[in-house]
Amino acid sequence: MRIGLHICRGNWSKQEEVLLKGDYARLLPALQPMQIDQFVLEYATPRAGDIDVVGKHLADRELGLGVVNPRTDEVEPVEYIVAKAEKALEYYRPDQLFLNTDCGFGCFASRSVNVEEVAFQKLCAIVEAAKILRSRFG
């Protein structure tokens, strides 16, 4: 069984400016000793900072790389997702790198941050990006 830990900066509003902002640096001392197989982290939002922060310190574990923002109506271009993953490959092997959403699409039942049609398209974009990445690096 794989055990993951998910961290985000809030997912209750579509107004990005009311959500938290900052990279993972200040959390590293807490994260490093955890007996966790995978850190599932937001990276589709610039509020999460640079991949180097975790790449340099947590690459002995897997990374669930957040590549789409669950709160936006626009579906991320496949090439944008591929580029995010390629940047993470500077620190992670392809088998350590998972691709996922930044957070859920409806953490609070009465506060879904998206609609099903857009959520589905975002999943399709992630899968398309994974196919391209496997053909290049798999």
Binding site: M1, R2, I3, G4, L5, H6, I7, C8, R9, G10, N11, W12, S13, Q15, V18, L20, K21, G22, R26, L27, A30, V40, G64, G66, P70, A85, P94, D95, L97, F98, L99, N100, T101, D102, C103, G104, F105, G106, C107, F108, A109, S110, R111, S112, V113, N114, V115, E116, A119, F120, L123, C124, I126, V127, A129, A130, L133, R134, F137, G138
Partner: protein
Amino acid sequence: MATNNTFLTTQVGSWPRSKTMLKALRGYQKGTVSRNEFNNVANDEIRRTVELQEKAGLDILVDGEHRRESFYAFITDKVAGTALMSLADMLDYVEDKAAFEEMLRTMDMPASAVKNPTCVGKLSRKESLALGDLRFMRNLTSKPVKITLPGPYLLTRSMWVTALTRKVYRNHKKMADDVVKILREELIDLRDAGCEFVQFDEPVLTEVVMSEECERRTFM
């Protein structure tokens, strides 16, 4: 086709709720919809969510958390010693009502969306938190399944409401011992049932280091 083990794709957990699902959830909470009826609605929603993930081609699937009030408040259904409290209930007990209301307003969180799993008694599992979810998923897909659980820090921070919890536990740490015990039991059950992936959600970790007022009570 060979199984991929590179760039595995998945999602973090929850799926947008339909109007039907929300209506069933509210009815179940009020007691006007039976648990059986509620589960039948949720099962249909989960079935559709799984079909969509398979259609998209994801490698590891989630159930969309359709049965859950929120990713952590749902535990009041499963854990003895808890009460699902609305904001109105909470306001009677938070130390600074005005600040709490102001926080909700500035963070764009409507009062109606807030429900807290408050600790009001000795905590123990009445039933598994997610074993039923895993078993239902097994009937729907042969793909690996990810189960999400609230992390111990998130639960400890949200469940403690001094005016109600101090009657039962001397301090946060004493309550946290029982929270951790519950999560350990759950993790072992999920492992023994063959769950491929368990994800603990700890959004509060960022709040503590990134929020300017880390002592304030928020809705999570």
